[in-house]
């Protein structure tokens, strides 16, 4: 090839790089490893991580271990999906495009919303984008009210994004670990014009079911045929997609934007990434939506086909005026999400949601029966709840780990002062036996800790 180019050496290809800028030495990197060596080296590192799948695990807080149909790994790892680029060239990307179209449809069925984009990085960035979109839609007000029961990680991401944005996030406090709706009502009354959106999470970070319909009514979301005030604040609802197998959907309580994390839909915990964020809203907002959207159309022979559409919203066309800067999203993870919903269907998703809720309620009975343990909130929960323990939750978490049990989340990690509280999650992958075992072991751990504390 060098001959064809009339060059004597590879070096001559790089003459446009000034001599003084060239590295002139080898990079200081480890020597190359063979495949078996790489597997050994990475295997040794992997062995030093705790896992959710080799012991009963009760940690959730937004990331859950769920049953993943075996077919998903086989299908999503097909090179035709995994090694394709973003489907800009529609004719050679109909597989990916149709799969996204179906994904968008299923997400809308789940959330009760009208349109969906192709995915966001995660729930945290989806929340930031939702607030930006609300700002663009309402064109009025610069305050967003955010419930304290929104996942603290999502909130942190939102705060980072708002640092240089005219919108300011204001926290709405808790009552019984539910969002203080009175406080929202008061703020709306006092400076309603300034409020562009309200952000609630359901079930909330503590696993509790928020009175979303009350929020919808409060914001004039047009429930039960009520009139929608023309420039009311938007309702942004962060939802757990599995919960929507049984719980009321955001469309039913008048949400304007419904977002969340799609990890539970066919994706392993992966240390929190890659998963995907989903973003659904109403058709009338389509021109303000961030990210890619697929639409159906026809080809020159009148046959059905799919394309990326409303592309003028996006960075590659609108540049500094784009609705978002997102380009690469989490395509393969959302494809797994679509496959998950397709393999489980209406029946399966309902069953997963039901099993999780029923097991959690069984566990609530078992665990609150332990001496010194009590529920933190009296509100209805879905698959997750916080307990107040008689001792420090961090110590309990470690003691449970020693007994080969993945404990719940010590809440003080996010809520300073709540040192004795632990948030337990239950999915269809735990059994009644696991829960009884947890009850026994937690009982033993607590009495040991109490004994130690006394001594």
């Amino acid at each position: 090839m060098l001959e064809v180019l009339g060059l004597a050496s590879i070096e001559e290809l790089f003459t446009s790089i000034p001599e003084e800028l060239r590295l002139g030495r080898e990079l200081e990197l480890p020597e190359r490893a063979s495949e078996p060596e790489i597997i050994r080296e990475l295997g040794a590192m992997a062995d030093r991580n705790a896992r959710m799948d080799n012991r009963p695990s009760f940690l959730g807080a937004g990331t859950y271990q769920r049953f993943i149909p075996a077919a998903i790994d086989a299908l999503s790892s097909r090179g035709e999906f995994n090694t394709a680029y973003t489907p800009y060239q529609a004719e050679v990307s109909q597989g990916t495009l149709q799969a996204i179209m179906e994904y968008q449809t299923m997400l809308c069925q789940l959330t009760g919303m009208e349109i969906s984009n192709a995915s966001m990085y995660d729930a945290g960035t989806a929340l930031a984008e939702a607030v930006f979109m609300a700002y663009a839609v309402r064109r009025k007000g610069n305050k967003v009210l955010v419930s304290e029961a929104v996942h603290p990680e999502y909130r942190r991401v939102l705060d980072t994004y708002l640092a240089d944005h005219p919108v300011e996030a204001r926290t709405i406090g808790l009552e019984n670990d539910l969002t203080a709706m009175d406080s929202i009502a008061r703020t709306l009354e006092e400076d309603g014009d300034d409020v562009l959106a309200v952000v609630l999470q359901n079930p909330n970070f503590f696993g509790l079911i928020e009175p979303m319909e009350n929020a919808g009514k409060l914001l004039g979301c047009g429930l039960e045929g009520a009139e929608k005030p023309p420039d009311r604040p938007l309702l942004i609802s962060i939802v757990d997609p599995i919960s929507l197998g049984v719980l009321k959907d955001p469309g039913a309580y008048g949400a304007d934007i419904a977002i969340g994390d799609g990890q539970q839909l066919g994706n392993s915990p992966n240390l929190g990434g890659p998963t995907f964020g989903f973003f659904t809203t109403l058709q009338k907002h389509v021109r303000k939506v961030p990210g890619r959207i697929v639409g159906e159309t026809v080809d020159s022979d009148g046959r059905r086909g799919y394309v990326l559409t409303f592309q003028t919203r996006e960075q590659h066309i609108r540049r500094e005026r784009a609705t978002s800067n997102i380009c690469t999203n989490q395509g393969l993870c959302s494809l797994r999400g679509a496959m998950y919903l397709a393999f489980l269907g209406s029946h399966g998703i309902r069953k997963v949601a039901e099993a999780s809720a029923r097991l959690a309620h069984y566990a609530h009975g078992v665990l609150t029966g332990l001496e010194g343990v009590e529920a933190v909130s009296s509100a209805t929960f879905f698959q997750e709840f916080a307990l107040k323990l008689p001792v420090d939750a961090d110590a309990v978490y470690r003691a449970l780990a020693e007994r080969n049990i993945g404990g719940g989340l010590p809440l003080a990690r996010f809520f300073p002062g709540r040192n004795q509280e632990m948030l337990f999650a239950f999915t269809e992958l735990v059994t009644k036996k696991d829960i009884d075992h947890l009850g026994d072991e937690l009982g033993r751990v607590l009495s040991e800790e109490l004994r130690e504390a006394k001594a």
Binding site: A33, Q330, M339, G345
Partner: protein, 497 residues
């Protein structure tokens, strides 16, 4: 075999058309007996009235559906994919095997640091490798994609302006050949943008830069090599000009595949850059992600990096979030960890020599294509190219042929088209990036196809206008897609699978 004789794959029915009421797919585990019924758990008012109307398919039908859909895609595994600016190199399977280890995939993001020592060690080693490759000492692995890395960096630059009381610096300079994400990220980070023209040689016009520089400039975003595949030879002068004016230099790392082990952004004056691990480090594009867009910065910018930072102490690796100048978190948890594992595996498979070899061969392959096609296709710039080459469709204009037509005809010949109509500064651009993982035979066959298309453009332009003919769909009506938007599948008549 002629393009016309390739059998056309059949279109696939949608999941909703394949659905039959009451059909069951994969059954989730049963919760067993002796636990409360749903009605005892949740209130009537909490429940949705109807189950979500998801499709109902037998498992085998759904498997066939997705298998057939996959066959409608072109991909690196099936076709040469010279999509400029996207670095569509072969994605080694070893990366997938490594990341599939349950010790990585089954880790919960809220585990304590001592429970994820393996992950933190991998992150820490990957940070060191990326720091060495870019010549910039500090890394954040958190950003999920290239655009996200850009945004993170711009937020840090903004935070630095605030910290120094220089908020009047609210402009970022952007060359006209830049990726669209650059100006878009600026807006989100609260910056205005100012355009810098490219010169006759396709490089940044220094005079245009001098004119645009002022006390209101916070930074300049460059891509080097730039999106024309040209190395900015005057980069040293550019960085000096910026630094003398108190501004910073950002580099979009989309084109790192051209300079691995040859030159380093940190050494040519870059203050902050992002990597696209899904380009340079071979992690799969996944049909649109997930990727990873780590950023690398100088000592001066280090305090602003997102939290948590990984620190090494005697007891092992720890996570440090107590950093008052940090911009905070740009996404939840750590980043696209699974992608970081794949990138690490790639870097372990390439020692210093092999990594330099990647760039040498990427540049060699691009120049080989340039030489073979330069008589048939117009080159807008004489400057030698690096890892990608930009042609235009100017020579084909006489018969009414556009870059789009050439791209579509390539599909007929079994190739994924190059990037077209980008960069915007080149009229009718065709941007070809072969990458290092292609053999000379593949490049030759591709060049032969391109030369045939050039002949066809003269002799039988209608052939190009009608292309593609061997895909499940012909050219799609994008106007109709917007004027009559259908954004969810209509649930029409069921069809049989």
């Amino acid at each position: 075999m002629t393009p016309e004789s390739i059998p056309i794959p059949a279109a696939e029915a949608t999941l909703f058309e394949l659905s039959r009421p009451g059909r069951r797919g994969v059954e989730p585990p049963e919760p067993g007996s002796g636990i409360p019924e749903l009605a005892e758990c949740l209130g009537e008012n909490d429940l949705r009235r109807e189950a979500p109307a998801l499709p109902e398919l037998a498992e085998a039908s759904a498997v066939r559906h997705y298998t057939r859909l996959s066959s409608l895609n072109m991909s690196i595994d099936t076709n040469f994919y010279p999509l400029g600016s996207c670095t569509m190199k072969y994605n080694p399977r070893i990366n997938e095997v490594a990341a599939g280890n349950p010790g990585f995939s089954q880790a919960h993001p809220l585990y304590e640091a001592r429970e994820i020592q393996g992950y933190l060690e991998l992150f820490s080693r990957l940070e060191k490798m990326l720091a060495e490759i870019g010549g910039l000492p500090h890394i954040s692995l958190q950003p999920a994609a290239g655009a996200h890395g850009e945004l993170t960096a711009l937020m840090m630059i903004k935070a630095r302006c605030r910290e120094r009381g220089e908020l009047e610096r609210d402009v970022v300079l952007i060359p006209d050949s830049a990726h669209g994400t650059n100006p878009s990220s600026c807006t989100i980070a609260g910056f205005k943008t100012r355009n810098i023209d490219s010169g006759e040689d396709g490089a940044i016009d220094i005079e245009s830069l001098r004119e645009a520089l002022g006390p209101d400039v916070a930074a300049m975003m460059i891509t080097n090599p730039n999106t024309l595949g040209i190395f900015e030879s005057r980069i040293g002068e550019i960085s000096s000009l910026l630094h003398e004016a108190g501004s910073l230099l950002y580099m979009d790392g989309a084109n790192m595949n051209a300079i691995l082990g040859i030159t380093r952004p940190g050494d040519f004056g870059v203050d902050v850059m992002h990597y696209n691990l899904h380009k340079t480090m071979s992690t799969p594009h996944g049909g649109g992600g997930p990727g990873a867009g780590p950023i690398a910065v100088t000592d001066e910018l280090e305090p602003y990096l997102p939290v948590p930072r990984i620190v090494h102490s005697e007891g092992g690796f720890e996570l440090c979030a107590d950093r008052p100048l940090s911009i905070g978190k740009v996404r939840t948890f750590f980043g696209n960890s699974g992608i970081l594992v794949r990138a690490y595996a790639y870097l372990r498979a390439h020692g210093p020599g092999e990594l330099r070899g990647v760039s040498e061969h990427a540049v060699l392959n691009a120049n080989y294509i340039r030489r073979r096609l330069e008589e048939a296709y117009h080159l807008p710039y004489e400057t030698p190219c690096m890892h990608e080459v930009v042609f235009t469709a100017r020579n084909q204009k006489a018969t009414g042929i556009r870059a789009l037509d050439i791209a579509k005809r390539l599909i007929d010949m079994g190739y994924h088209p190059p990037t077209i109509y980008f960069p915007l500064v080149v009229h009718e651009a065709l941007m070809i990036e072969p990458t290092e993982t292609e053999t000379q035979e593949t490049l030759d066959r591709f060049c032969d196809a391109m030369l045939q298309i050039a002949r066809e453009a003269e002799e039988n332009p209608e052939l190009l206008k009608a292309a593609p003919v061997n895909q499940p769909v012909k050219r799609l009506d994008e106007v109709n897609a917007i004027k009559t938007p259908i954004l969810t599948c209509p649930c029409d008549e069921p069809v049989s699978d």
